[in-house]
């Protein structure tokens, strides 16, 4: 019985270490995907520029992301989160090599939670404005500007997808780090 318990312990230790390394590798892969998502969103929103070929004296017919402060906030938050994710790549690589780093995992969870709040705020505020641009609001007398600006609307709608995907990925990364922390 003593021999089998020893054999059980020695066969469990490399397995648990392999699972920890697998979690860290998965964290790194998710980080790359989130970098791509936020970068694509920031660029897609930041390069919006549509000018309609006609004009009147009341309404301007040029649409840019900087016309709406919420979309500017969206570009800024996505850039900040993208920069944070790129800067946290070395920390994630360190976690693959050294699975016993407790304090740095805690720091990573803390910063990931802050960035999750930031990216969720930017993405959902932009989603509210994009919804308003599509549907307008009859009660507040706000016209739906997507009737005129088709490609501007399509682009700002599509750029939300990358940001919301990055939000889901950040949630997964926080949970992965918590599981890896608990496996001490």
């Amino acid at each position: 019985m003593k021999g089998t318990s020893e054999h059980g312990e020695t066969s469990k230790a490399p397995l648990s270490r392999g699972v920890s390394k697998g979690l860290s590798v998965l964290d790194l892969i998710l980080r790359f995907i989130a970098i791509v998502g936020t970068l694509a969103s920031a660029i897609a929103m930041g390069t919006t520029n549509e000018t309609l070929p006609f004009f009147t004296q009341f309404i301007r017919f040029k649409a840019q992301y900087s016309d709406l402060p919420t979309l500017t906030f969206f570009v800024i938050t996505n850039s900040i989160v993208c920069a944070y994710l790129i800067l946290s790549l070395p920390l994630s690589i360190v976690h693959i090599i050294r699975s016993r780093a407790k304090f740095s995992r805690l720091l990573l969870i803390f910063l990931d939670a802050a960035m999750l709040a930031l990216v969720t705020a930017g993405a959902s505020a932009a989603a509210a404005i994009v919804y308003l641009a599509h549907k307008g609001n009859v009660k507040a007398n706000w016209l739906a500007i997507c009737q005129q600006f088709d490609s501007f609307c399509e682009r700002i709608s599509g750029s939300l997808i990358g940001s919301f995907g990055a939000m889901v990925i950040l949630i997964l990364m926080i949970l992965l780090s918590a599981i890896a922390l608990a496996r001490r």
Binding site: L106, A114, A123, A128, A133, N137, I171, A178, A182
Partner: protein, 223 residues
């Protein structure tokens, strides 16, 4: 474990009478020392509460702070949900073009905001017994994990709702010249004040939730 030592102190056998009556000196001599030791052990510990066990003290404190933060987050979310839900302002003037009544369900973002705050308030109430169970039993790691997962999901939803409502309220305050959107706060003062206050309260609740997540991660690490 502490309650099992109390009844053992009751069985105190007097050595002299038993030795004279039964003649079993060694067997009886071993009986008094454990009750005496138990009596000596239970004498300095006045209360039977397991709270004062030194090994558990740190994680119990953390779990207690978790409970307090949950109660603290319940107030702002409930207040935001109620304030948004009862926001209804009708102006006393009317024309044939403009609607002069503002309610929260005129804006889908504010409707989502109210629903999300109501869900978060309900979740906080439902998670109070789980958090209390973690205080009483600090080694329940499964409960801590469950609370962490649910907290993360709720904070994401609450942040999304608060940010969307903030975008709409900011638009209502300042309008947008380029898109020809009129700032409606010029007419609807009470509606605007109420929804702005609700958004601020919701962001405070998000801050408390983020503290909760960090605290839960910290507590899981300690175990």
């Amino acid at each position: 474990m502490s309650t099992s030592e109390a009844p053992a102190a009751a069985t105190v056998i007097p050595i002299d009478d038993a030795a004279r009556q039964h003649g079993k000196a060694p067997a009886v001599a071993t009986a008094p020392p454990p009750p005496a030791a138990a009596a000596a052990a239970t004498a300095p510990r006045k209360t039977g509460l397991p709270f004062f066990r030194r090994a558990d003290r740190g994680s119990r404190c953390v779990a207690l702070v978790d409970l307090v933060l949950r109660v603290a987050a319940f107030g702002p979310t409930l207040a935001a949900a109620i304030a948004t839900g009862t926001s209804d302002e009708t102006l006393s003037v009317f024309t044939q073009f403009f609607q002069f009544r503002a309610r929260f369900d005129d804006f889908p973002a504010l409707l989502f905001f109210m629903v999300a705050n109501a869900i978060a308030a309900g979740y906080l109430v439902l998670s109070l017994p789980f958090s209390a169970a973690v205080v009483l039993r600090p080694q329940a790691i499964g409960l801590r994990h469950l609370l962490l997962v649910c907290d993360t999901i709720i904070v994401a939803m609450l942040t999304a709702a608060a940010a969307a409502a903030a975008a709409i309220v900011d638009l209502a305050h300042s309008g947008n010249v380029r898109a020809n959107w009129v700032p409606i706060c010029m007419q609807f003062h009470g509606f605007c004040q109420r929804t702005s206050g609700a958004v601020v309260a919701s962001f405070l609740a998000v801050l408390v939730f983020v503290f909760l997540i960090i605290l839960a991660a910290f507590a899981i690490r300690k175990r």
